[in-house]
Symmetry: C2
Subunit: 494 residues, 2 copies
């Protein structure tokens, strides 16, 4: 009798592993049976036979077979050997995960990345090549040498690692952004701060005023909480105060999320008069302002403007900042600065959500900042960012079709491009990817208004050469499409 | 004319700070005005006068005054000098944070810690003194030396740091807890896994079946999400399957959270037959089981039992585990293992909540585990834990009043004590704290049933000597109270 089972029993066992060999073999064969590699009714080798084939002790094989038998996966018949009886049938009433997980709105997710070598403008994140690894190592070493290392490893406070919290609060006070009654909470980046704010402020059916366009992370977060989004036009000069005022009146949003500097995706900064106007409108309506300022430290040119938080004397603004964009996004440390009653509640929500932010990263980033390494790195990032931004703007000018418009950010990581009609950035993406360049089309960022020609160019992760080459390709693709479109007879001619 | 303002203008300026001196001075005076230190109508020194007093350049003072005037905080009158005009009046409609933050249920929080030297049984966390600092440092060094360090610092995947995720999934497969269709998500400890599960599964008004008593972190989390808690008695042998079955029938909970090993606060482990019975009941009702197993690795005696997840062939169980209790709670890394449709949704929720778990800690803990240091440390923790548990049980026997009952855990960090009637652990806490010992009374853990005599002893953070001394004190306090109570005439006698 041919032993078919032998062909399918070729386990990779680790004789030095912690799990005993018989258990490893059991797991392996059980897996083969459950996945159908060993079919129901198939004979499995006798213990002696398999021991010889695998070079194992026969008692090891016997122990594994016993477990398989116990699990109902095989059964022995006297004189005939052992046979696969198959995995136990699933019980009638299982869990219908799809029904349980039914969800009205599927979250917006980015398109699948292109295959092969591609110049990708799709990700708004810093360049890995700029990470100051030696300075990071030095900061870690300093933390590892600290006498209070054990305290860093112990369960911490939901408010954050106290030395970092104090440092950030003092910095905020010195910079004039912290009001006397303010407090500060450390979060896992700005994203978690927004999440916690949603948790403590949103009630079912609430509306939130956000920029239109806005990055998908915020859309998904607020949409996932059941909020209605009210998009305020923001593509050319940041959130428009006149539209905001109208929306406050009409939609009575629960709060406003505004990006003061280098907005994602548009790259734009709210001018000073608009900051005042936004604030006045929010104050009149009694609506809190959430100032999302993840990119504020990345100004390549022009003068810094006072934060909206700084201009607000009414205590109605919360400022969100982060180490992620200016240092290491893999370390999730950001913070919320605002009126104490709100921060108190955010701290309770933080405790419920995940106890506290990772303390190793908090301690390392504090050391990185206090030692001056962060500031030195920032200077380096600013030089690189200025070059990359310049290359992007030049590339837009040199390569994109006539009639294309784009924003002129003074910092950050993103430029917002609007191709002329009838070009559709979504339709063009597949072709661009085939040619070796990728980006996110405007629909990923749209709240109420979709501009088919819009797309985001995230330039910070690319070198100036990659940027130029990428835009040359994008120019080729878009110009070709424009030429093809204008060669088509217009519908009225047919 | 006396310059009253001079007395109140004594700023601490930092000439080497990033903020220009004039701006620092502006901030300082603005603050003095806003807080009333400089009253409306008060004259402020002439620029020349203040320049002399502070040893600053007169142009610095002028620039600061200009800003103050621009902000409407001071005004100059020709020939008379400048005067405080007061902070702009707060707008009529500010933000009423208290109204915005109105919340039906204030979260349960632990009582304030006692002052001075206290033996505290209040915190369920490992001992700081047991942290293997050199092994932790060595693990960090290994990560810092890695060639892919920059990838660790870059923005990561919401699923978790892939090498760690793969390692944990393989461990789970080798241990037999992962079913073929399972996937694994890294979270910020078990707490975040529970949070994400609540987000994707709970609808308004849903009920969740939990153990009664249960740790406050879970009560706060689910309560904060608006869930009704249905407490299943669990103080003596873990969640009771008969009660669970009844609750499934009557309350139709959305899901069940069960602690299979060394439950917090009761310390008890669900016996094998009860695991099967719980699972059968849940399967019949089509209700998912969330197996919270933060303490499972801390078994000091007895044989490990298969996880409920392992017994469940219907794919209806999610297993939550964590590095926190067995290594460093300050590093927030746990994971959820379960059916792919659920894990997919949890990953989306994780992305919305905070993008991903901190990657530095994930990489360090992977190194700590893969190098065998975790297992060596665990052996050390198990020895210490066994001693501490033994000291706790002996202390209960030797010192607590006759009629006291307590659980006999085989691992974990907690023993559940029930003092005999009429003793009230809540009432006794203040006295115990005065005598130098602290604990959490039962009401912090109660879901539906309050036992006035109940309290949790968290022993893992204390040495055997501290445990014995602490229980001797607790014995003194409780015995004294019992004696006083029995000396009182009973109501029927009056």
């Amino acid at each position: 009798m041919v032993c078919y089972g032998c062909m399918n029993i070729q386990p990779k066992l680790d004789p030095h592993g912690e799990v005993p060999l018989y258990r490893q073999l059991f797991e392996y064969i059980a897996q083969q049976i459950r996945t159908g590699q060993l079919a129901r009714g198939e004979r499995i080798p006798a213990t002696r036979e398999l021991a010889g084939l695998l070079g194992l002790n026969r008692t090891t094989i016997s122990a594994a077979y016993e477990m398989l038998e116990h699990e109902g996966l095989i059964s022995g018949q006297v004189g005939r050997g052992s046979f696969v009886t198959g995995a136990r049938p699933a019980p009638a009433a299982g869990i219908d995960w799809n029904a349980l997980l039914e969800h009205p709105d599927a979250p917006v997710s980015a398109p699948p990345g292109p295959a092969g070598e591609t110049i990708s403008f799709a990700l708004s994140r810093p360049s890995r090549d700029l990470f100051p690894l030696d300075e990071f190592r030095a900061s870690c070493e300093a933390v590892l040498a600290r006498r209070d290392l054990a305290d860093i490893l112990q369960l911490g406070s939901p408010a954050g690692y106290e030395p970092l919290r104090r440092y950030l609060l003092e910095e905020a006070r010195r910079g004039g952004v912290a009001a006397p009654g303010d407090d500060l909470l450390i979060t896992n980046g700005c994203q978690q701060a927004l999440d916690l704010i949603g948790r403590v402020l949103l009630r079912p059916g609430d509306t939130v005023a956000v920029e239109d366009p806005i990055y998908p992370g915020l859309k998904n977060l607020l949409g996932g909480m059941g909020a209605q989004l009210c998009g305020i036009p923001a593509a050319t000069a940041g959130m428009d105060p006149v539209w905001l005022e109208r929306a406050l009146d009409r939609d009575r949003p629960r709060f406003i999320v505004v990006t003061s500097n280098f907005q994602n995706p548009a790259g734009v900064t709210v001018p000073l008069p608009a900051r005042h106007a936004l604030l006045d409108a929010a104050r009149r309506a009694g609506v809190p302002v959430i100032e999302n300022d993840a990119y504020g430290e990345l100004r390549y040119s022009g003068e810094p403007l006072p934060a909206i938080k700084q201009l607000d004397e009414s205590g109605g603004t919360v400022l969100l900042r982060s180490f992620s964009k200016v240092s290491f996004p893999g370390l999730r440390v950001g913070w919320a600065l605002g009126p104490k009653p709100l921060i108190d509640r955010l701290r309770q929500a933080k405790l419920a959500a995940d106890l506290h932010t990772d303390q190793l990263s908090q301690a390392v980033l504090l050391e990185f900042a206090e030692s001056g390494r962060l500031e030195a790195h920032r200077a380096h990032v600013l030089r690189a960012g200025a070059e990359r931004l310049a290359a992007t703007l030049e590339g837009c000018r040199d390569y994109l079709p006539a009639g294309t418009r784009w924003t002129h950010p003074e910092g950050g990581m993103n430029v917002w491009v609007r191709l002329p009609e009838p070009l559709d950035a979504g339709d063009l993406l597949a072709r661009a990817q085939r040619e070796g360049v990728s980006y996110l089309p405007g629909r990923y960022f749209a709240v109420s208004r979709t501009e088919p020609g819009a797309l985001r160019l995230s330039f910070a992760g690319l070198t100036p050469d990659q940027i130029r080459n990428g835009l040359a390709i994008l120019g080729k693709v878009t110009n070709a499409e424009q030429a093809a479109r204008s060669a088509e007879p217009s519908p009225a001619m047919v």
